[in-house]
């Protein structure tokens, strides 16, 4: 390309952008950026988001160009990473962890013509949408299996951070377990990390030493699975991803976050200009939450019960949070027959009645 034609093209491009034609011409791919809180190789949460990114590439091929930044710490670093993606020309950016919330809000303000999507948060703006999956539905199924299968009547839960998403999980699992086994007790350990295999392994070991034989994790690595396997008589559930390499035991089932359909839908909307800022909360019914195969380590009766619960939740006839339901301190959360609204669940920062552990302050 000689200098003259270069100048011409540049001028033409500027002109096109100037008169407000679609910013991306047919031959220019839509650039899409992702930031992940862990490494893509965590085999859990971030891995699953990256599967969603790959699904976009598969579906749209040359029409998109995706990139990602992994292991981004929650906090100021996230703002830097997001700004970097926006400056690199990405027109749609997915921030895939709760702790990226304020960083995403700030960066979205600075780049009004870039569209942002924040996972598991609740702050919206004109160019910032939020999306989340109803993980608690999966937890209810895990609680049912756990409540039926525990011999020590102790279920352990490795919490990450005390945020609504995690409280929903703990409470849903406990309520479902108590329904099938009134003697069940919930042990909670907060790891204060999303991803730290050694610490997660220690947390699992502490719970197992305390007599837990059903272990649920809200952290992203497979380290607790490995610890449970070592202990021998403990069952676990895959978190975010299937974690099937630990099947049939200790991993007896899993909750899988399937982001691909949502990501593909949103990319399509950006392309045809129908993208709107909105809050999406998908569950088992929309396929955003999938229940991984229940292995043969689970008795057939329990498996059937769990699958029925899954169908009932998907069909809307059962909601894991249905009154009468009290908070841990005995005050009323839901009246008899009342079903928790999404708003109530998004603000859930307490244990339900019956859980003896104290919530972190």
């Amino acid at each position: 390309m000689n200098r003259r034609s270069f100048l011409k093209t540049t001028a033409a491009t500027t002109l096109v952008a100037g008169v407000g034609l679609p910013a991306f011409a047919a031959d220019e791919p839509l650039k899409i950026g992702f930031i992940y809180v862990g490494p893509v190789g965590d085999m859990g949460w971030s891995y699953q988001h990256d599967q969603g990114r790959k699904a976009i590439e598969e579906k749209y091929g040359d029409k998109v160009q995706t990139s990602f930044i992994e292991s981004v710490p929650e906090g100021p670093d996230a703002e830097r990473a997001l700004t970097q993606l926006a400056l690199a020309g990405n027109k749609l950016i997915f921030a895939t962890s709760f702790g990226f919330m304020d960083a995403t809000v700030n960066v979205a303000k600075k780049f009004p013509d870039v569209k942002f999507e924040h996972a598991t948060g609740y702050k919206l703006a004109d160019n910032l949408a939020v999306y989340d999956a109803k993980f608690y539905q999966g937890r209810a199924i895990q609680g049912t299996i756990g409540g039926r299968m525990t011999k020590t009547n102790k279920i352990g839960y490795i919490g990450s951070y005390p945020i609504p998403e995690v409280y929903q999980g703990i409470n849903a699992a406990y309520l479902a377990a108590k329904k099938v086994n009134p003697d069940v007790e919930m042990k909670v350990v907060w790891a204060y990390t999303w991803f730290d295999p050694a610490k997660e392994a220690d947390a699992a070991a502490a719970l197992i030493a305390d007599g837990v034989d059903v272990l649920l994790q809200h952290t992203d690595s497979t380290a607790p699975q490995a610890k449970a396997q070592e202990a021998g008589n403990v069952i676990t559930f895959g978190q975010a991803s299937d974690m099937s390499s630990f099947a049939p035991k200790p991993r007896v089932s899993s909750t899988i976050d399937n982001w691909a359909p949502y990501y593909n839908k949103r990319v399509g909307e950006v392309m045809d200009g129908t993208w709107k800022s909105e809050a999406t909360w998908g569950g088992i019914d929309t396929g955003m939450v999938e229940i991984g195969e229940i292995t043969d380590a689970v008795p057939a009766v329990v498996k059937a019960e769990a699958l029925k619960l899954k169908d009932d939740i998907a069909g809307g006839t059962v909601h894991p949070f249905t009154g009468p339901l009290n908070k841990q301190d005995g005050s009323v959360f839901l009246a008899d027959g009342e079903i928790a609204t999404d708003e109530q669940l998004h603000g859930m920062t307490f244990y339900v009645e019956g859980i003896t552990a104290e919530a972190p302050k």
Binding site: W190, A206, A226
Partner: protein, 310 residues
């Protein structure tokens, strides 16, 4: 035996296993720093040890070979550091930080194929009837051989540094490399050896993480253990037995914190998490107050570059 819902025996057994990676790395770093080189690349060497050890153990089916490979990988990283800082006289702090970043990246690349793979198990040593002694049995006779080796290595390092000619030379190089050079000791060679040992120990610690403690490979799995090892060396004021104490205390508080939670105590997690660091700061303040009039605890030539011409 249990106090306030905390099983002391389980806690003690857990803390020994939980502290081993940091103990190994800190002991190695102590030797390197005693020779007068500050290697901030512990984290990078550990994670390389973790991935190399894991890969070797999976490929050969032998955890022992895995540990050997982990130590070699750590030593190799340390040799790279030694070349840069001892031959090319690069800045030790910057090179150490670079080594950490390099190790984290390279290990992630090498480890891509090993995610979700399970390593061959490392058996616990069988002490026969000893393991059945109440209290003492589960605490002292229920571990794998690396746990015992790590304590033994602390003793060896202590003995060598204190009672042997080699240890004396190493310390001389660390205290005053010019004087040691004038006496005819080969400063650079001694430091290469000390760094290599430090790297091997860090690699061993990393391999323990991926082969025993977690056990699996995940990117970034050391999660700061190398930095804790560096802090412990300072906390221990460069003395081997205090390194053991410091490592077990760090490991102990981590294990205790999780056990307290499992037992249902509402303790402020953040306070316990920062406790080891607070204690380190307090110890440093006390040490510097004690040494006001004379000997500093750190080797006098720590972090200084040496060239025979100077």
């Amino acid at each position: 035996m249990s106090i306030g819902g905390i099983d002391i025996v389980t806690l003690a057994a857990m803390l020994m296993a939980a502290s081993t990676p940091v103990l190994l790395a800190a002991t190695g770093e102590l030797v390197a720093e005693k020779s007068g080189v500050l290697n901030l690349g512990v984290e990078g060497m550990m994670i390389m040890g973790a991935v190399a050890g894991f890969a070797a153990a999976v490929a050969t089916g032998s955890p022992v070979l895995g540990f050997v490979a982990g130590a070699l990988a750590g030593a190799l990283m340390a040799t790279l550091f030694a070349f840069l800082t001892q031959i090319f006289l690069s800045n030790q702090v910057a090179t150490g930080l670079a080594l950490t970043l390099f190790g984290l990246g390279l290990s992630a690349l090498i480890g891509k194929g090993y995610e979700g793979v399970r390593p061959p198990p490392t058996a616990k040593l069988d002490f026969g009837p000893l393991a059945d002694i109440p209290v003492i049995g589960p605490i002292f006779f229920s571990h794998d051989w690396i746990v015992y080796a790590s304590v033994l290595l602390v003793a060896v390092v202590w003995f060598v540094l204190r009672y042997t000619r080699a240890g004396l030379i190493l310390r001389a190089v660390g205290e005053s490399h010019d004087a040691a050079h004038a006496l005819g000791y080969r400063v650079v060679a001694v430091r290469f050896a000390a760094l290599g040992f430090g790297g091997a120990m860090a690699g061993l610690g990393g391999a323990y993480l991926s082969l025993v403690r977690v056990p699996q490979w995940t990117e970034g799995m050391t999660a700061g253990a190398g930095w804790i090892a560096l802090a412990i060396v300072v906390f221990a004021s460069w003395r081997p037995w205090r390194v053991l104490l410091g490592a077990y205390m760090f490991g102990g508080i981590t294990a205790l914190q999780l056990q307290l939670q499992a037992a249902g105590y509402a303790i402020p997690v953040h306070i316990l998490s920062m406790a080891p660091y607070v204690i380190t700061i307090v110890v440093l303040v006390i040490l510097s107050a004690l040494h006001r009039h004379g000997v500093q605890a750190a080797p006098a030539s720590l972090g200084k570059s040496f060239h025979a011409s100077s």
